[in-house]
Symmetry: C2
Subunit: 310 residues, 2 copies
Amino acid sequence: MEKSIKVFAPATVANVTCGFDVLGFAVDNPGDEVELKLKSTTGITISAITGDEGKLTKDPELNTVGVSIIRLLAKLGSKQGLDIKLHKKMPLGSGLGSSAASAVAGVFAANQLLGCPLKQEELLPFAMEGERIACGSAHADNVAPSLLGGFVIVRSYTPLDVVKIPTPKDLFATIIHPHIEVRTKDARSILRKDLSLHDAIKQWGNVAGLVAGIITSDYALIGRSMDDVVAEPYRSMLIPGYYDVKQAALDAGALGGGISGSGPSVFALSKDEKTAKKAGVNMAKVFNELGIGNEVYVSRINNAGPQIIG
Amino acid sequence: MEKSIKVFAPATVANVTCGFDVLGFAVDNPGDEVELKLKSTTGITISAITGDEGKLTKDPELNTVGVSIIRLLAKLGSKQGLDIKLHKKMPLGSGLGSSAASAVAGVFAANQLLGCPLKQEELLPFAMEGERIACGSAHADNVAPSLLGGFVIVRSYTPLDVVKIPTPKDLFATIIHPHIEVRTKDARSILRKDLSLHDAIKQWGNVAGLVAGIITSDYALIGRSMDDVVAEPYRSMLIPGYYDVKQAALDAGALGGGISGSGPSVFALSKDEKTAKKAGVNMAKVFNELGIGNEVYVSRINNAGPQIIG
């Protein structure tokens, strides 16, 4: 018995300015890779993790990928043994849904190897369990777009209701990851726990506009709607030069920009690849001048979710 | 010189559950009518108002229609004299955008008589000025859908940004107007001025879902998204039997329901006319049992805005 598969799952940008906790999208680059091999013995093992600088555990009960797959197999009542190799192809703690991508690649690969007993969207709760291990809470705004591709609305958590919406085909994302650390805990605690009705109305007016703009490919409306009064005013304090970086993207012609997830990565959306690349160059210049190392990723919105690559 | 026109403008449902202050839609029935006649003398006059039970002023500087038209003519630099006849075909203070419909009918009629110097969407600020006279503040969530038809997002007030979104063609509205008075001032003051981030996220998750559902004609998603944690919990206290009325609509098969504008009218959305009519019968039964007189309106979503009827 010898059967294996290699799967790529995309990084994701959660929150998407006004869409705090309810919107996310997937990108073609970066992403994580999981190799999964059927074992002739029972049990889940992790034989290798690369690209993590030794930060992740190989204990399957404590590892995002391990937990996701263990939960999936338990649900299916399967005793199948599997060995996991995880290749981190993106920075950890970057605000790009790194653990979500790993979990999604894992459950997608396992489902494939087992002959697809579940539909793709049915894998969501198991990948979310992996997220819970990594983040302490089972968020869906990274996992769902990584699993489904495109732009995803997390309409509700109780009950879980995730909706993939049509995505403009020429929309490009620029992501810059500055080499600074923003702890998710700090990014959470810096937020206000209440907001004025006035600010809330402003936010959901923009959410309405952004969703409409995305579905109808109205790029100007997407740009006008990319405004955030909830997280950006506070989380920007944790990212040196944030507003200059955002402005640099806008100066290049980007539609809008914001903090990716809880940061420190910053993203911008543009209506063609040339603008997205120019935005990346401009954004990097700001961090470079501040002496902050960084990587830039430019890619189309990923509309496919996880893909078999070997 | 003798030229006249008669225009109908539709009633509107503002707020639309989760879309507090940012969403509204127009209906085919009810609506208001304005007759406008070119005069050979200068000045704006109101020679007749019907259907208002004597409640509205014929002073053009204090009347919604008069003010809207005066502001429009001032903008155009026109000294043209006009006489207005206003026919109220819906109850005042009902939460159906009565003053907005009158103002829209007025500015649309005036623009037509003057040879359409402005595009239809450019009439919005003048109708909003009429609203300011009626309500004390220049809201757009009734005026905009009455003027543009269909579902409209008021994304922002500063600057004003109003977006008409594609509307499902089989969506029907049921509206019931109970004969009780809810003062707009009370409906406003009963609201909380702050909300928890948790509740706010729930609200804009539903806004995202509702907008996506409307644009993609996903009726089930429309229904799941019709939930309001901001206004309904408080304003429902001002409408006896509110939750029973809403439940009666759902029992008939309606997708969802809510308070129209600031009430007291209650509305429901259904995916066909038969269900919408049944919802109306069910809703009326609840108010009837409480001894509260009422009218029921059932109509398709109005996608046209104001129309010339004579």
